[in-house]
Amino acid sequence: MAKMNQHLPDDPIQEAVSECRRFLKHEIHDKVLETDLQKATDWVDRIWEKSRQLDLPFLLLPEDYKGAGFSPYSCAVLLDIIAAECAGIASVFALHYTGCIALLSADSRQQSLLFPRLTGAGALRPALIAPVFPSETDGNRFEVEANDHGLVIHGTTALTGNALTADIFCVFIEEDDDMGGHITCVVLEKGTPGLSTGQPADLPGLKVNGFAPIILDHVMVDHRSIVGRRKKAGALMERAKDGLYRFIAAMAMGTARSAFEKASAYARQRYQAGKKIVHHQEIQRLLGNMKMKLSIGTAGYLNSFDDNSNFFRFEAPKPPLVKVFCTDAALEITMDAIQIHGGYGYMHEYGLEKIMRDVKVLQLMLGRNPKCQINTIAEEIQHDR
């Protein structure tokens, strides 16, 4: 675990943060509102290409494969910063890093095939991953049939981020209950026969990220593309999901920080009843409430990386709960930031209402928040038994 106080000024993360901020300012800042109004998957492609200058696509990959060798913790910090500028772009990287977490547990033969694709060896475009998780919803279950060549998979996934731009799909399949309800993890290249995307979703936020269901129509998966089955795949999926929960939390805090900073700046220049609104107690209380949630949420997601925390016998926050807390807090912060802005906050050009829409999607990614809370305790009860 990388603790905050272990980061010295010459730590690579410090340098990455500075570079990332410069990149955001030059490549993203001026385009955020414009791209929110149109389906801008080509813009995502360009940003993805350019981001290789900063090693962003291969942050998590080992240095042996020309990756940057960063920890998921460092990725989360960078996602927080990217999301403060554009949550849609941040979500593209967050989902990609989630896929990387899964593939870091692939066997060495698979890694040697996949990692050069991900780092863009030979001047190729670095491959973008879409991680695909099973959904609770009926109709998103799969038929999996094993044969001598591998597996034949048939079914449709739930809505998946990066679906329209991904080069590689890291798919966790929950086989139909009749077949045991086991998890299988496979890696599929875009263009695999039988693999296609369904009707793209028209979500209110994260608009630059193309969400759609993935259709697997009797897709043949050879042995080389099977990353794991049963227990191994189940553990892999939990690791990847835990990563994504934390990344969502980091993005939520980034977007909320941006909303807070806008509200704080606006309150310092807008007058009401003869004084700047920041001098009104009610606005101070609102800003204080926002800052409190922001501080606790940020500390929470950073702390959730500390798997071995035993400080005073307090366990580290569970990743799903960190996601719930941070996204709920982010929505409240954003709504209050709009409220402080009055009518201006509701207008597209001020960027706040976009943050509200983005946060609402973050809140619903990787499961409904009440269900995340329920499942956390349900799993604990299972462990008790």
């Binding site: 919803t137 009926d138 007058y271």
Partner: protein, 481 residues
């Protein structure tokens, strides 16, 4: 799937007035026509909302997202033919004669389907509301004539109410704010009238308006003491529309900047003299804030109905989403909050009929005039000429102020603010909570639920931010202690 469940809400029978407010049973016994007319209004509004608005609401939202100036004229024409945009005008004069209660029922029904559609149809009563503040008979009758005439001829006529300025939103709505505000508009006295300069912003229907009722000070260094109310015809030289805003929600209702460049209005367009502008604003707010609460009630109900339908159909591991205990608890909680809010809102509406301007239509002199004189004569030039005389105008104004005192207005600002804050905070909460239930897959635009979430936020901001509404509640109830 239980059929009854699928029938709940937009596609079937939501609880009607008497079912959702059983206490009205007593009122129905005492005054049968009052309640039965409101029940009839609910039927008309509900049918219109479901048959005319619901099928087009998402497509309209999309079109307006692409082009904020796009307006659904076809829907407006249908509403106009049904007279929904002139509903408070007495039947004898060509309107529907709906009481404040009848109008409340309509607002709830229309907003349960689309907030923007509801505001396009009902905000038009600003003209009548504004004229009723001083109740100078000539002005009131003339406005009714114009509105009825336009309705008959199917010619759009929009009325806007312009309070907000770039540097003053909340400040325009209460005394301590107005004392210190920095106005962006000013009016100067010139021979025969006034010259008006400056800008207003976030004006609902500003880009469509034929007439704008605007609060403008004569002395910008003393806004409270010099604030006046003017009627500005949009056809005046010097009147221009700026940007039509790109908003998060309520997209089908246009919000625009207005510019006044040396705009001349004659003396008679001064509706409220300098120093009385805030009083005029307060009286309009004393009605409209409560109606925003009622619109929020409609939105909360509509959002919940969508959610229930979705949850009843969505299957999760072999059972319905609706069968999950946490979903049931959340839904029960929302039903409870809607029931509580409904009581607050309809108490406000009935009180409007009893103590506010609506009681005019129930008073003997107006009743006699409406029952004895034929409609044509009431709206004819003869009566108009008599109404225009100073004596009759003064009598009208005196009589109305006798019925609706300054204290009554402030009391209704408090009632209305309470309904507004309770309603809009609830609409914001429910429209978000239903998305937490339906999840990412129910979030897509075509399911019609995320629109409620985007729409609801604005209701916490306009008609005074909820913070300013709270200040009003405190000041009136406790402030003097």
């Amino acid at each position: 799937m239980k059929d009854t469940l699928l029938k709940y809400g937009l596609r079937g029978d939501a609880p009607d007035l008497m079912k959702s407010l059983p206490a009205f049973g007593r009122l129905k016994k005492l005054k049968p026509s009052y309640i039965s007319r409101a029940e009839a209004a609910q039927k008309v509004a509900r049918t219109f909302a479901r048959e005319e608005m619901l099928p087009r609401v998402l497509e309209t939202d999309k079109k307006c997202a692409e082009n904020p100036k796009w307006f659904d004229w076809a829907l407006w024409q249908k509403a106009n033919r049904a007279k929904l945009n002139i509903s408070p005008i007495p039947e004898k004069l060509g309107g529907l004669g709906w009481s404040a209660l009848g109008n409340a029922v309509m607002v709830e029904e229309l907003a349960s389907v689309c907030l923007a559609g509801a505001s396009n149809i009902t905000f038009n009563t600003f003209g009548l509301l504004g004229a009723l503040v001083e109740c100078r008979t000539g002005i009131v009758l003339n406005i009714i004539r114009m509105m009825v005439e336009a309705q008959k001829n199917e010619v759009p006529m929009f009325w806007s109410w312009a309070i907000t300025e770039p540097a003053a939103g909340s400040d325009m709505e209460e005394e301590s704010g107005m004392k210190h505000m920095r106005p962006s508009t000013r009016a100067d006295k010139v021979p025969g009238g006034y010259r008006i300069n400056g800008a207003k912003c976030f004006i609902t229907n500003g880009s469509l308006a034929d007439f704008v009722i605007a609060s403008i000070p004569l002395d910008p260094s003393h806004p409270l003491e010099s604030m006046a109310t003017f009627l500005l015809p949009a056809s005046s030289t010097g009147f221009s529309v700026g940007r039509v805003e790109r908003k998060s929600g309520q997209k089908a209702s246009q919000t625009a900047e207005l510019f006044f460049d040396n705009l001349f209005v004659p003396e008679e367009n001064l509706w409220e003299p300098p120093g009385r502008g805030l009083r005029h604003t307060r009286e309009i707010l004393s009605v409209t804030r409560g109606y925003i609460g009622i619109a929020a009630l409609g939105m909360s109900r509509g959002a919940l109905e969508h959610c229930i339908q979705y949850a009843a159909q969505k299957k999760i591991k072999g059972h319905r989403l609706l069968d999950e205990e946490w979903v049931q608890m959340d839904i029960a909680d929302m039903v409870k909050d809607i029931m509580t809010l409904r009581n607050c809102c309809y108490n406000f509406a009935v009180a409007l009929d009893t103590y506010h301007a609506w009681q005019l239509f129930d008073r003997v002199p107006v009743k006699i005039a409406l029952s004895l004189l034929p409609g044509k004569m009431l709206l004819g030039d003869g009566i108009q000429a008599i109404s225009n005389t100073e004596l009759v105008s003064k009598i009208g104004s005196w009589y109305k102020h006798r019925l609706v005192s300054d204290e009554t207005v402030e009391q209704f600002v408090t009632f209305g603010s309470a309904a507004k804050v309770a309603g809009t905070d609830l609409a914001a909460r429910i429209s978000s909570k239903i998305l937490d239930i339906v999840g990412l897959e129910g979030l897509s635009h075509e399911f019609g639920m995320e629109k409620y979430f985007r729409d609801a936020k604005v209701t916490q901001i306009y008609e005074g931010t909820n913070q300013v509404n709270r200040i009003d509640i405190f000041n009136h109830e406790i402030g003097s202690l």
